[in-house]
């Protein structure tokens, strides 16, 4: 390697050639086709209850499948090459384009959403955020409701595949730690995707099905059970009712929901290992350990506060604390009760938890437990070094050695995350939102949580009163946060395109 030479001075064979747009378009075409076919599900649902919206879904499905098919057919011959830059472009474009097609039913359906609202809703679905602009979900046609759930479900499985199969190769923000032992460091991305996607999808479907059955047994109608199971496993948070999970007024449903939200925010790699190595493999994962400790402490603090401040009884305090910890840490965003009125301390804890998020390798968003663990490991090393300047302290996360470039990647990510949070909040503030709404909207969209704080976008509110500009900013922030910031940002570096 030519060491210190600047990149432009590298020999030609080390530099990358032109970006291969054809293979990018061909894969996007395939995914769009799948989305179009998925639109037949809400069409069937609407047809069954006799809602005229079924036509919208059929037409949108037809158009989407056609566009995807054309894109795939015209470019498929080229689909041999998919390297780092193509993968970056593919990931970002996929989310933008899928949201664009996914919003067609919202735009044309009887709800009469504006385009900004429809795109916001679709992006919120695809990024599994769960913020909504629709008021009156309880009386909305079932087709739209199931379509929102399906969008989240697809977005959820999509991000897991990306996180496990693509991001480690891209080395975005320390994600290379997620590299499985079996997969080598090669830049062949497609084979790894096809090898892993099957297993991931199987686990995802099994969990969804289990959740569906549990909800149904606990008293939901089959339709509600399906819609909520889809959004629970995707850690999405779209509900079929304005009052979210609180609509059911059932402790059993809240407990089931808590369990599956936690399950969905564990790394899916651990499930794969569980299938091979049993429960022991699950407990050995350092990410899971840290997650359990953090969630336990957070829930305990909340429960203690609720009990001491006499907000509610013991049983309610414990259940709701666990539920809220799960819904915020897993970045789902369901609400069982409106915590806006539970005092500033409670809201401050919720606000802080929003930043953290679930484990990397799941559909949860936020900073992620993996990065938190690495930051703590680096901090420990720094402290050891301060006390013993001549000692050698390798940074370890679990049993794995954290290399310096991982630590630097995480550092860069943390900086970007905080900077993005501040900038988005500032811009939202400039467009006229009050302080708490702007701050919490910024973090809730970047971390893909869903509800914010305050009267407007709190757990009982919606984003409907936002202006179009604010909705577009929030849509952008959701995309940025979902794709780990760097994946999108790298496209804006001129050198990327050379």
């Amino acid at each position: 390697m030519n060491g210190l030479k600047p990149i432009s001075a590298l020999p030609q064979e080390l530099r990358l050639g032109r970006v291969d747009y054809a293979s990018v378009m061909s894969i996007i075409g395939l995914v769009v086709m799948t989305l179009g076919i998925a639109m037949l599900v809400p069409a069937a649902v609407d047809l069954r209850v006799g809602n005229p919206d079924w036509q919208v879904f059929v037409v949108a499905g037809f158009v989407t499948t056609l566009m995807g098919g054309l894109s795939w057919l015209t470019t498929r011959k080229a689909a041999a090459r998919l390297e780092v830059r193509e993968a970056f472009l593919l990931t970002t474009l996929t989310w933008i384009i899928l949201a664009a097609f996914g919003c067609l039913p919202f735009y044309f359906a009887s709800l009469k959403l504006s385009f900004a609202d429809a795109y916001f809703e679709a992006m919120s679905g695809m990024t599994t955020t769960g913020s909504t602009t629709i008021v009156g979900l309880d009386s909305a046609p079932p087709g739209i409701l199931i379509w929102r759930a399906i969008l989240q479900w697809i977005g959820g499985v999509g991000i897991i595949v990306i996180a496990l199969a693509v991001m480690p190769g891209l080395r975005v923000g320390g994600m290379q730690l997620l590299q499985t032992e079996s997969s080598d460091r090669s830049e062949k991305i497609l084979p790894r995707v096809s090898a892993m996607a099957g297993t991931i999808l199987a686990i995802y479907c099994t969990l969804t099905f289990g959740c569906l059955i549990a909800y149904w047994l606990a008293g939901m109608t089959p339709f509600e059970a399906l819609a909520h199971a889809l959004t629970t496993l995707a850690t999405g948070g779209f509900s079929t009712s304005d009052s979210s999970i609180g609509h059911f007024q059932s402790d059993a449903i809240e407990w089931i929901c808590t369990v599956f939200m936690f399950a969905a925010s564990l790394p899916f790699l651990a499930y794969m290992r569980y299938l091979r190595g049993g429960l022991k493999a699950l407990g050995e994962d350092p990410q899971i350990r840290l997650f359990v400790i953090l969630a336990g402490c957070a829930a305990a603090v909340q429960a203690m506060y609720l009990i001491i401040s006499n907000t509610m009884g013991h049983a309610d305090a414990i259940r709701l604390s666990l539920f809220n910890t799960a819904t915020i840490l897993s970045t789902t965003g369901y609400a069982a009760a409106d915590y806006t009125g539970w005092g500033p301390f409670y809201n401050a804890v919720i606000f802080l938890l929003m930043f953290v998020g679930g484990c990397a390798g799941s559909s949860a968003g936020g900073l992620k437990i993996l990065r938190l663990g690495i930051i703590i490991a680096v901090l420990k090393q720094h402290l050891s070094r301060i006390i013993r300047p001549h000692g050698i302290f390798p940074v370890r996360f679990g049993s794995r050695r954290v290399h310096d470039d991982v630590a630097v990647g995480v550092s860069g990510f943390l900086f970007l995350y905080l900077a993005a949070f501040a900038i988005v909040a500032l811009v939202l503030n400039m467009t006229g939102l009050d302080g708490i709404t702007a701050l919490s909207a910024s973090v809730t969209t970047l971390a893909n949580v869903g509800p914010g704080l305050g009267p407007t976008i709190g757990p009982a509110g919606t984003f409907q009163s936002f202006t179009d500009l604010q909705k577009w900013i929030c849509s952008g922030a959701m995309l940025l946060g979902r794709l780990e910031l760097l994946t999108v940002l790298v496209l804006f570096i001129p050198r990327f395109w050379r």
């Binding site: 390697m1 030519n2 060491g3 210190l4 990149i7 080390l14 780092v84 830059r85 891209l170 080395r171 975005v172 923000g173 830049e187 500033p344 809201n347 401050a348 804890v349 802080l352 930051i375 680096v378 901090l379 090393q381 720094h382 402290l383 050891s384 070094r385 301060i386 006390i387 300047p389 001549h390 000692g391 050698i392 940074v395 310096d404 470039d405 630590a407 630097v408 990647g409 995480v410 550092s411 860069g412 990510f413 943390l414 900086f415 970007l416 905080l418 501040a422 909040a425 500032l426 503030n429 400039m430 009050d434 302080g435 708490i436 702007a438 760097l486 940002l489 790298v490 050198r495 990327f496």
Partner: protein, 493 residues
């Protein structure tokens, strides 16, 4: 790991705190001597408080002297661990003894208030609990200013001579090659502090002279000069700089607040005949660029409020410089400038000035280092096989410095969040809790909102919150790690 610990140069085991105590003793004796100044001023103005100052001085000098006499005798070298203990102990002791005159004087402050005020002074924060400064006795006013001035000097010496050797939070970037071992801390500190004191005194005198020429009274000029160069922010008037309402005075303050937040070693370099170093320094450039950018934003915001350009620029430049350098002077209730301006001020609270100055916050060099990390990371993402070297000030930036800076920023944000939540629990509203936590750990001074905003004081804050804020100021001032390591069991083994 056990085999590795055997290369450790310093013997482990119980720490011998005597060398640390002897240094603390010397510093206390100096502080006690300094109390004679306000005593003389009160005597001159015929205020009965002079007895308080004289008495406090006597006690402080006595305790300091006893400490020094009983603990001296050992060699003039201390180990790394003793340096940590010394730094924290020194600040604590100085704060406690500095609070004596405030506690005993005729202002009738409670012990909590006196400690808060003293801590706010020595850490150059500038948050005050005293209402009615305009009628306060001159001795007290001078003592507050003097405390900030001494605190500022202490910070510079600490940041230049001690912290780089403690290798905390990335400060090792400022290690000069000649002094690399901890046992050189004391000689090095003595040697460097001579030069730095000279620069510091020179700047303060220049500032006082400028204030005097611009129309301040002698007393005001001297006290404000001391708190300006220390980027402290105590004033002799409740209305702070708004009392003078003079563009000239504000511009002088801006200039000297800026000088106070530049790295003082570069001033020494100027004396040594290398003035170009000041402008070649990355940290100085970035700091000035950030400040100019934010000032422009606020100015534009104020133009929308209908202010004429000159006045908008003046208000924006003064208040933003005051906040970003961690000074905390105010000319106007900037919390009323709209939420956009408030957000900018809130962000500026965290940024701070350059390392090696009297200012506080995260500090510009750390922001540069994380930015370099980010750039390198992005480069590596696009070209996985290329080797990219990050640089700071032309020198390669080792990964362990990045790790240290990353840890610092993470801890800083975590501490801010914890402190805000704890303040919230004591009953403060959200805005007060958030801005109080930020202003304390960044040593700025005023917060936001009605309770602790720029036009009010911290008097109305509950006692528990005052203790929390005092602790926050100390932890922020000592760059978090200096105190944090003391709580790690491994440190004491």
């Amino acid at each position: 790991m056990t085999s590795l610990s055997s290369i450790e140069p310093a013997p482990r085991g119980l720490i011998d705190v005597r060398p640390a105590l002897s240094v603390v003793g010397v510093l206390l004796a100096l502080l006690g001597t300094a109390m004679l100044m306000p005593a003389m001023i009160d005597l001159y103005f015929g205020n009965a408080d002079w007895i308080v100052f004289a008495g406090a001085a006597l006690i402080t000098v006595f305790v300091g002297g006893m400490l020094w006499i009983t603990c001296r005798g050992r060699a003039r070298s201390i180990t790394l661990r003793q340096a940590f203990v010394m730094t924290t102990l020194a600040w604590l002791a100085l704060v406690v003894f500095g609070a004596l005159p405030l506690y005993w004087c005729n202002l009738n402050l409670s012990l909590t208030d006196a400690i808060f005020e003293s801590m706010s002074g020595l850490t150059t924060t500038g948050a005050t609990v005293i209402n009615g400064l305009d009628n306060a006795p001159p001795g007290i006013l001078f003592w507050r200013a003097q405390q900030q001035w001494l605190g500022g000097l202490g910070i510079i010496v600490m940041a230049v001579a001690v912290l780089p050797l403690l290798q905390i939070g990335g400060m090792q970037m400022f290690k000069t090659e000649a002094f690399e071992t901890p046992d050189k801390i004391l000689p090095r500190a003595t040697q460097i502090s001579g030069m730095l004191t000279l620069v510091y005194v020179g700047l303060t005198m220049a500032c006082a002279l400028a204030y005097l020429v611009a129309g301040m009274r002698l007393f005001d000029a001297v006290t404000h000069a001391m708190t300006t160069v220390a980027t402290g922010g105590f004033s002799t008037h409740d209305a702070s700089f708004g009392y003078f309402d003079s563009a000239a005075i504000e511009m002088i303050a801006v200039a000297f607040m800026l000088l106070g937040s530049l790295p003082f070693l570069l001033f020494v370099r100027i004396i040594q005949g290398k003035p170009a170093d000041l402008f070649r320094d990355t940290q100085v450039r970035v700091f000035l660029a950030i400040l100019a950018g934010l000032t422009a934003l606020i100015t534009i915001r104020l133009l929308f409020n209908g202010l004429p350009f000159g006045e908008a620029l003046r208000d924006a430049a003064f208040n933003l410089t005051s906040i970003m350098t961690g000074t905390g002077f105010a000319t106007d209730g900037y919390h009323l400038w709209g939420s956009f301006a408030v957000t900018i001020f809130f962000i500026a609270t965290f940024l701070g000035g350059c390392a090696g100055s009297t200012s506080c916050g995260i500090k510009t060099f750390r922001i540069i280092i994380v930015w370099e990390d980010l750039k390198q990371h992005l480069r590596r993402i696009v070209y996985p096989n290329a080797i990219a070297i990050k640089r700071y000030n032309g020198r390669p930036l080792p990964d362990h410095v990045s790790a240290a800076v990353q840890s610092f920023i993470f801890l800083y944000m975590a501490l801010f969040a914890l402190l805000a939540v704890a303040l919230n629990l004591t009953g403060l509203d959200t805005l007060t809790a958030l801005s109080g936590a930020a202003t304390a750990i960044s040593n700025v001074g005023p917060g936001l909102g009605d309770v602790i905003g720029p036009s009010t004081t911290f008097a109305a804050v509950p006692d528990a919150a005052k203790w929390l804020l005092s602790a926050g100021m100390l932890i922020g001032r000592l760059e978090i790690f200096t105190i944090l390591v003391l709580f790690i069991p491994a440190f004491w083994r």
